[in-house]
């Protein structure tokens, strides 16, 4: 039987346009110290640390040589996932569930030192895709377009996602973008790649996030508010974008199914009190609703039209403001998990969903955009 695992410490920096006085791994350091303080633990209590992110984004090969030091990894058993931080959560979960480690710290950061478009361009193979002009945002735009076209979703409907998330971000003291926008402003913003306008896309934020996980028996000694990981699942998709229906996200569907099965979830729209999803773009949040089973295929936009996923609705999605307000490229998924955990502890000041007991956290790890994305879903439950 896998050991039960809980989140016992949460650390998050204020996310900003820049932290000029920091070297990039100081965001990991700040978040790790906040998480340790939150859990009343010290570096000595950690059995393992897992770092996350991409070397080519950090501009340093083996970037974890720096980030592991900044998060307490010195002389410890550490590792690094070349993924969004949500996968560090998944890996730490496995280490603790095995019974071989009791306490793990996972962390991630975002900065603005790289040209994300240039880096994601070189994830594509040099033979076919790169010469055809592919990068992260271009493939996400192609996917948004395919979805829009197949189901007749309008740009206004997608813009409502932005309005919702930006309004939520106003009340989140950690959020990078903390001012509201209107549908008109979204539609009038600078075109990026059809159908995406600038405000349909997440910003580039600087900041750090860290979580401390513990095995069941240890968790109870650390905190009286453990957040249990009741289920977790992840899955990848094919690289060849020409061989699949871009209007769906099968890796997210598969990840959700695994997590739901593990957690015994049958009716996600009814059972969850909130969801923090890692929306790649405004359109993707609607696609995420469908892949997560909140709506039937092609019906995601109904939820935004009916206000179901607003703060006062049946299933608030992204009470934190989501990645449209705060986007650490390489750790946004981990921020979603941190926010979901804060909600379940009743610590999501200003943005609290009252009485939250069960939450879904979703992270996307996709250096090649819609080509071979990895989606991860965690089901969190108040202890």
């Amino acid at each position: 039987m896998p050991k039960r695992v809980a989140i016992v410490g949460i650390g998050q920096t204020k996310h900003e346009e820049s932290k000029g006085h920091y070297i990039y791994y100081e965001s990991d350091f700040e978040a790790a110290k906040l998480a340790l303080e939150d859990a009343s633990l010290t570096r000595g209590d950690l059995d393992t640390v897992i770092a996350s992110g991409w070397d080519a984004i950090d501009g340093r090969t083996i970037s974890d040589m720096h980030t592991c030091m900044a998060i307490g990894g010195y002389l410890k058993d550490s590792s690094h996932v070349g993924e969004d931080g949500i996968m560090a959560l998944a890996y730490a979960y496995l280490r603790i569930a095995s019974g071989l480690f009791d306490i793990a710290l996972v962390a991630g950061h975002g900065h603005r030192e790289a040209n994300v478009d240039a880096v994601t361009r070189i994830v594509f193979d040099p033979l076919f895709a790169r010469p055809a002009g592919r990068n992260y945002i271009i493939t996400m735009a192609m996917q948004a377009n395919a979805y829009m076209h197949k189901y007749g979703v309008s740009k206004e409907q997608a813009a409502k996602v932005v309005v919702k998330n930006r309004a939520n971000g106003v009340r989140n003291p950690y959020a990078h973008l903390d001012s509201p926008v209107t549908v008109e402003e979204v539609l009038a913003s600078r075109p990026v790649a059809y159908p995406l306008k600038a405000l349909d896309c997440p910003p580039e934020s600087v900041g750090g996030v860290a979580l401390i996980l513990a095995a069941e028996d240890v968790a109870r000694r650390i905190t009286d508010k453990p957040v249990w990981i009741r289920g977790i699942g992840w899955a990848i998709e094919s690289y060849e974008m020409g061989s699949k229906d871009l209007a769906e996200i099968p890796s997210l569907t598969a990840a959700a199914q695994r997590a739901y099965q593990m957690a015994g979830i049958k009716r996600p729209l009814d059972e969850f009190d909130l969801a923090e999803v890692h929306e790649a773009t405004s359109f993707h949040e609607l696609m995420d609703y469908e892949a997560l089973g909140f709506a039937e295929a092609g019906q995601g936009a109904k939820l935004i039209d009916e206000g179901t996923t607003e703060m006062g609705g049946k299933l608030p999605v992204n009470p934190s403001g989501g990645s449209l307000c705060t986007n650490l490229f390489g750790a946004s998924g981990l921020v979603r998990a941190a926010e979901a955990a804060l909600q379940l502890r009743g610590d999501a000041h200003g943005r609290q969903v009252a009485g939250a007991k069960l939450a879904l956290a979703h992270g996307l790890s996709a250096p090649a955009g819609a080509a071979a994305p990895t989606n991860c879903v965690a089901i969190l439950e108040r202890g």
């Binding site: 090969t61 083996i62 974890d64 002389l75 990848i236």
Partner: protein, 390 residues
């Protein structure tokens, strides 16, 4: 008690300077198919995939995306897939990742893949330079070779090791590689030949330095119930772990010793219930990117006292017919598909314990140790494999 896990299948590719005959997914597929065939399994039997590569070398960043379907069609079937990358220890870290996938209880049969296409890079050192801190140290260039040279230079100074000792390590590994059909460098090299080779960075000559290779490796791990059904010769994981030293090597300038490895060794020996490694290990695959490292690794791993590694060498203890053969495969010195090399060390150790190492088989090998180092000689991984489960 953690779930038992074993390696039940191994797949290697022939390594060379540049495998021009294949594109990247084909190279990966070669290793993955070999592992599946070795374990007599099909793609559908794999529950999850763990992938490792050291990214900047291949000309494609995050190559696991392009290669996803070469890994048992993981993309097409939306399998769980995780990328682990930790520099030179990637091959070891990814094996640990697979181990924890199985011991977690969530997955029964896991494919671990590691790959590298150094041949696609014109100047590998340029890439290695990008590992050096751009703020303080990158202006100096250099990288792996200089750190290895520091290890040799200091070991000479403090322990009286000589260039001839290094040449003996080279000759031993090159001779072993001739028995390994997957090795990159396969040539005859005597001690005299080695001592005449060009000096790269004193005291390391060309023969003291590993090549950079194209290659891929795959292993399949399984939980106990499945392992016993899949093969009669599982290689049980008796102990495993990693250690992380800090980035700034200036903080630990005593290159003649390798403390982090000693600390990890004690920890993993304890897990594996090994009291006397020289007696209880039958074979070791050590990450000898530079000849001097094989000597220091023997010392750090407790095969002998610090500074006495050359005695083990000169007495033939670590030769193929010695008490504890080291690197029957020819080691990293003869084959180095960087991000995959660590997994090759583990795969070779597994083949020994499974009795499948053909001409490089150490007779009656029951207990094998595999070692991987990386980063600024600061990351280490160890895995101990055994014919019997602990």
């Amino acid at each position: 008690m953690a779930r038992r896990a074993a390696i039940v299948g191994v797949g290697l590719t022939k390594c060379s300077s540049h495998r021009r005959d294949v594109i990247y997914p084909e190279l990966v597929h070669e290793a993955v198919s070999a592992a599946l065939a070795d374990a007599n399994l099909e793609a559908k039997d794999i529950d999850a995939v763990v992938y490792g590569s050291m990214d900047p070398f291949d000309g494609v960043f995050a190559p696991e995306r392009w290669n996803v379907d070469a890994c048992v069609g993981a993309g097409a079937s939306n399998k769980p897939f995780m990328k682990i990358t930790t520099g030179g220890t990637t091959g070891g870290s990814v094996a640990l990742g697979g181990y924890y996938h199985v011991t977690s209880g969530l997955f029964d049969v896991v494919l671990v893949v590691a790959s590298q296409r150094v041949g696609e890079t014109l100047e590998a050192q340029l890439v290695l330079n990008t590992a050096i801190d751009p703020i303080y140290e990158r202006w100096m260039g250099g990288g792996a070779i200089m750190v290895g040279a520091n290890q040799a230079s200091s070991h000479f100074h403090y322990y009286g090791t000589t260039e001839e000792d290094l040449a003996m390590v080279a000759a031993k590994n090159y001779a072993n590689a001739l028995n390994n059909p997957y090795a990159h460098l396969q040539r005859h090299l005597t001690v005299e030949d080695a001592l005449k080779m060009r000096m790269i960075s004193w005291p390391l000559r060309l023969s003291d330095c590993c090549p950079s290779s194209d290659g891929a490796c795959a292993i399949i791990l399984a939980c106990e119930k499945r392992a016993r059904k899949i093969t009669n010769t599982p290689a049980w994981i008796r102990g495993a772990g990693q250690i992380t030293d800090n980035y700034y090597i200036g903080d630990r300038p005593w290159f003649q010793d390798w403390e982090a490895l000693s600390i990890l060794g004690r920890h993993v020996y304890k897990q594996a219930k090994i009291g006397n490694p020289l007696e209880e290990l039958d074979v070791a695959e050590l990450y000898n990117a530079f000849t001097i490292q094989e000597i220091i690794e023997c010392e750090a791993l407790g095969f002998c006292e610090p500074g006495k590694g050359t005695e083990l060498l000169r007495k033939g203890v670590t030769s193929m017919d010695g008490k504890l053969p080291v690197n029957p495969s020819g080691g990293t010195l003869c084959t180095n598909p960087i991000g995959a090399t660590g997994l090759v060390r583990i795969a070779e150790a597994a083949l020994q314990v499974m009795g499948k190492a053909d001409k490089r088989q150490v007779a009656n090998a029951k207990t094998a140790l595999a070692h991987v180092w990386g980063a600024a000689i600061g990351f280490h991984v160890l895995m101990i494999l055994d014919k019997e489960a602990l």
